[in-house]
């Protein structure tokens, strides 16, 4: 085995993955529009990608990169707001249902989380559309509303109408991830609360809230990072569904429209960009893992493997 520094190895595997993804997307392109690849060899295609040339969309007759970057802010904002909602609700609710597992409210939270796991995102979405958009006429059912432009970045977070349009998609999306994180936090915390360090802290008379936050939640960060990196793909898949349902003008609905229209170059460009995004996110979670895990000090110490038992 050859041992390379962590960062070199990561860059190497990352670039290999991207080249592989590019080859796969060339193959996909040749499947969907064979006439296009007749004049474009694999080498040329890879060379074009290297120069940030993702080809022209057949439907929009614009550069694919331009089309995708124009839609990216919508998806990005939806995902960010969803993650915020999940974090804001999962932490306190999980904490509460772990501290007082026999309380009625805690049981209610757990029942809700079981219901939430079984609730398909398009069912919640449809129900909300029917209730709040059709019957009560409170919230708009599709689109992003009024936008504010910062250069080429369009944002809906600075207008009332933008927030009104955000409420239903973000809630529907967060209801899919919330139960998972809630159950994870609860399980972790219940385990931690019965561990020896916590008993010691209780015996020492440290304030309960201090124990919950410093011993409990801190121990739950690592599994949460793992869960986040595992669920990122699921979040993207559900983003696709939600964007289609609420006609949210993001990258996911762009991809689905591209599939229906048979826009091969757009689909290929989307595949390459999605694999790059996956890589970026995985590197990010790895970095966060190194930051929060005391056993994995970043840098050259990692080879020594000084893993100590916690007690």
């Amino acid at each position: 085995m050859i041992y390379l520094p962590q960062i070199t190895r990561r860059i190497l595997t990352g670039s290999i993955t991207i080249v592989l993804a590019a080859c796969v997307s060339y193959w996909v392109l040749s499947l969907i529009t064979p006439s296009h690849t007749a004049t474009l060899s694999l080498g040329q295609y890879l060379n074009n990608l290297l120069h940030a040339d993702f080809g022209r969309s057949q439907f929009y007759n614009l550069p694919n990169l331009h089309v995708i970057l124009e839609k990216l802010p919508a998806t990005f904002e939806l995902v960010i707001i969803t993650s915020l909602i999940v974090a804001l609700f999962a932490l306190p609710l999980g904490l509460y249902s772990a501290i007082a597992p026999r309380q009625k409210l805690a049981r209610g939270i757990m029942a809700f989380s079981l219901l939430g796991i079984s609730l398909p995102v398009f069912l919640t979405g449809s129900l909300m559309v029917y209730l709040f958009a059709v019957e009560l006429n409170w919230l708009p059912a599709f689109g992003r509303g009024d936008l504010v432009w910062f250069g080429s970045w369009s944002s809906g977070l600075f207008t009332v109408s933008g927030w009104q349009h955000m409420v239903m998609p973000a809630t529907a999306l967060s209801l899919t991830l919330l139960p998972l994180f809630l159950r994870l936090i609860r399980a972790e915390l219940i385990q931690v609360m019965h561990s020896n360090p916590v008993r010691l802290a209780q015996a020492m008379g440290i304030a309960p809230w201090r124990i919950w936050l410093r011993y409990g939640l801190r121990n739950a960060t690592l599994p949460m990072i793992t869960m986040a990196s595992l669920q990122f793909g699921t979040l993207m898949a559900y983003t696709l569904v939600v964007e289609t349902l609420f006609q949210w003008p993001g990258v996911g609905s762009l991809f689905m429209q591209g599939i229906i229209r048979g826009d091969g170059t757009l689909i290929a460009a989307y595949l390459v960009l999605v694999s790059i995004m996956f890589l970026l996110f995985n590197s990010l979670t790895d970095l966060a893992y190194g930051l929060f895990n005391p056993h994995l000090a970043p840098g050259p110490q990692q080879t020594q493997k000084t893993q100590q038992h916690p007690l």
Binding site: L123, L127, G233, T234, I260
Partner: protein
């Protein structure tokens, strides 16, 4: 005849004396959800005989019957208990057929996952060495991608490449194949861990001494002792696969509209909701929710019941 009857009676009595049955009776939620799940399964099996209409038969549908409401609303028709969809098909029959299709895909896809994951996990745990390293790194690679995202991308591209008409001819088989291949690592990882714990025990050594072949030891000695966590995963996966299939059908890359599943019915009914016709989308959604919830509850109970830690505590 008499002997068979006696034997059947005997088996039933033995089952009733078992731990699992007692635990099922003690847990009200699990008992009810098992009954709901069993009756949904029986309904799905009997669908061709009990459903009032055949939604795949175009002779039986009349566009004049379109968009009729269910029986508790004004303007309903006594022939259509739960109303009709936009093409004049009976919604009750569509839901029954959709239930059948969803369960069919769930069953076969999970069987494929189970076979694949179990055999790979057994090999990885039993043989070790390069086979283990290869299988486990494949499993890790697969886990970083989400199975749903993988299924959406694969099936969407297949649809774009084949065209909608050809795609819908093959889509049930493609769904089983893709959903079955996309989610094997969970089984493999769990099974590998339990095989590693099991393979150095004395009864395996005894089997080796008796001269059994590796294949025989793996399948008949190790597998039965490591099966219970796999059963829990498989039960949960049925719900997962049905949910994924419904999402795919909702995106119109799943079952064809002529032979819909529950997700496809909802996707087709979504547009009608804006004119206040909610039942086409929401009634199949309710059936889907009942199915998924009962499977998840049964799986939850099964996990607690099969956990050896819990055996001592329960009566």
């Amino acid at each position: 005849m008499n002997a068979a009857k006696y034997h059947g009676h005997h088996v039933w009595r033995r089952f009733r004396r078992q731990q699992l049955w007692r635990q099922l009776k003690a847990n009200k939620t699990a008992f009810v959800s098992t009954i709901v799940l069993l009756s949904l399964g029986i309904l799905a099996l009997l669908t061709p005989w009990i459903s009032p209409f055949d939604p795949t038969n175009m002779q039986q549908q009349n566009i004049m019957d379109a968009e009729l409401p269910p029986f508790w609303q004004q303007g309903h028709d006594h022939r259509f208990l739960l109303g009709t969809d936009g093409l004049g098909r009976d919604l009750l029959s569509s839901i029954l057929y959709g239930l059948k299709n969803s369960l069919w895909i769930g069953f076969w896809a999970v069987l494929l996952q189970f076979t694949l994951g179990t055999s790979l996990g057994l090999c990885a745990g039993y043989f070790g060495g390069w086979a283990e390293r290869l299988i486990m790194s494949l499993a890790d690679l697969q886990l970083t991608f989400s199975s749903l995202m993988l299924a959406i991308l694969t099936l969407a591209i297949t649809r774009a490449a084949m065209g909608a008409h050809d795609y819908h001819m093959w889509s049930p088989w493609l769904l089983v194949l893709v959903l079955g291949l996309a989610d094997w690592p969970q089984y493999a990882r769990t099974l590998r861990a339990s095989v590693l714990a099991e393979k150095h025990k004395d009864y395996i050594a005894a089997a080796h001494v008796l001269g059994y072949r590796s294949k025989h030891i793996m399948v008949f000695h190790i597998l039965p002792n490591t099966l219970s966590p796999l059963l829990v995963i498989a039960t949960l996966q049925i719900a997962h696969v049905i949910l994924a299939e419904a999402a795919l059908s909702f995106l119109d890359i799943g079952m064809p509209y002529a032979n819909p599943s529950l997700g496809g019915l909802m996707g087709a009914g979504f547009e009608y909701m804006f004119s206040g016709i909610w039942w086409i989308a929401l009634l199949p959604g309710l059936a889907l929710l009942t199915l998924l919830l009962s499977i998840n509850l049964v799986a939850d109970w099964l996990r607690d019941a099969l956990d050896p830690k819990n055996l001592g505590h329960r009566p």
